[in-house]
């Protein structure tokens, strides 16, 4: 309850801050559309030459692109300004103020701010998913929607856990402000259904940098391609990662060196 109240104050402040830079809104909408274009071009080129990617049709792949765009928005709005900013705070020492507050440090570090404009991407992503469903002339069943929501939440949790672990490394190596860029580099692979990848790449994208859980699996859920078991496994995987990342974060905190000046 108290944490909810804190959250509302945090977000109110973030929105106030964003209103100071209104021009950013238009720039963001424009960029979102451009990046969506880039993502669509990336798959369309292929469909010029073939009519199926693996066993995915064009609208089905568009759903994956929609999820890719959606999560991009989520990361930009919620992860980059929070967990992503921790690295910078560690470097200039202002992380001190997070640690001296009588509130769970992970809570503050993870949820203090939100860049609302970036949610534009999330909205566009959902729009694309809806469009793809329309093209497919499919109405998902309530069960499929249920699986989809579970997978979406699990995906969010997984992405968050990965970010938290990445950022925790900054407690040892102060100069790794680019580690989140590394994640984005791998994330690019999530624009395509994971089933098209072969061998090692697929294993990496499913279990090591589990981007499959973020884009492919929710799309599969909506298309009725995964069952209860897969959904549950995904959910359990997400919970496991959350717990592991929390442990790692706590362990890393001990190595905080608190840069002076």
């Amino acid at each position: 309850m108290r944490y909810l109240r804190l959250l509302s104050i945090f977000y109110k402040n973030s929105i106030l801050k964003e209103l100071e830079y209104r021009a950013n809104f238009i720039a963001n909408v424009f960029m979102s559309i451009l990046w969506l274009g880039w993502a669509i071009v990336g798959v369309s080129v292929f469909f010029l030459h073939r009519d199926k990617m693996g066993d995915w049709t064009y609208p089905e792949v568009l759903m994956v692109v929609g999820l890719f765009t959606f999560f991009n928005g989520v990361m930009e709005a919620l992860l980059r300004p929070n967990v992503g900013a921790v690295i910078e705070q560690i470097r200039d020492g202002t992380f001190d103020f997070v640690l001296t507050k009588p509130v769970n440090a992970q809570f503050i570090a993870s949820l203090r701010s939100i860049i609302v404009w970036r949610l534009v991407d999330a909205v566009i992503g959902i729009g694309l998913i809806a469009y793809a469903l329309g093209q497919l002339r499919v109405t998902p069943t309530p069960t499929q929607i249920g699986f989809f929501v579970v997978m979406l939440l699990s995906g969010t949790a997984i992405v968050y856990a990965i970010w938290l672990v990445m950022v925790s490394f900054a407690f040892w190596f102060v100069r790794i402000d680019n580690i989140t860029e590394l994640f984005y580099a791998f994330y690019e692979a999530g624009r395509y259904p994971v089933t098209i990848y072969r061998g090692v790449v697929r294993v990496v994208l499913t279990y090591i940098v589990p981007i499959a859980f973020v884009t492919t699996f929710p799309a599969s859920a909506l298309l009725g391609r995964i069952d209860q078991t897969t959904t549950l496994v995904g959910f359990a995987f997400a919970i496991g990662l959350l717990i592991a990342s929390n442990r790692f974060w706590k362990f890393a905190l001990r190595y905080y060196a608190s840069a002076s000046s």
């Binding site: 451009l34 190596f173 790449v201």
Partner: protein, 262 residues
Amino acid sequence: MLTKYFALMRRSLGVMLEYRAGVLIWMLVNVMPLVMLAVWFSLAEDGPIGGYAQADFVSYYLLLTFMRQMTTVWVIHELDYDIRYGNLSIKLLYPFNPIHAYMSDNLADKIIRLAVLIPLGIVAAFLFPMMRYELTPLSVALMLLTMAAAWAMRFLSQYTFALLAFWVSEAQTLHEIWYAVWLMLGGMVAPLDLFPAPVAAIAKYLPFRFMLSFPVEVMLGRLTADETLLGLAATAFWLGAMIVAYRWVWRRGIKQFSAFGA
């Protein structure tokens, strides 16, 4: 000037070696060509796509990875920051144009990348024996030349976009648009041959191709002599245009900077 470059590069090298984790991560960040390779390689399993078989994709994207690494430029972030927070004033006190300081910084990074990439390239040659290139002295020389030009164009275009920070605060956003188009039309998503004919026909003459994939195309031996010559002419044209644009913006920007400060 050359001694200054060596001195500046020495310092940059020192700094980079100090932060080794950061340097290695930056290299890993440029894996997008490999991601695209994984995609096309898997997709071409059932036969060539638009004239590209699996082996062709391997040849294309592995060399493209090398190009991507060797033409990596990040000056937009540095210069935009320096202009907006007034750090440029310090660099203006150097007895030479500050662009040389940023350039030598970038070249130092290229030395480190080469040191890592050459051994990796040898390993790749063993791992992927299907790689096929046109290995003649002329094609290699042309590749090195066009690669240098690609780097210069990437650098100059970013630098010029960064200079817009003299007037607007969204220089990085404006550059992002340019960057997105570069990714699409520079041969990253797919070799330009795979694009719809009308798009490919236009993209062949736009600057983006010469900022990434052209040196690779030279090495793949898919270009006719005429196409190669035309490409070289276009490279020269765009490089010249970017130099002119940079000079023009720089001169006006400095006036603006000294008139209003930062």
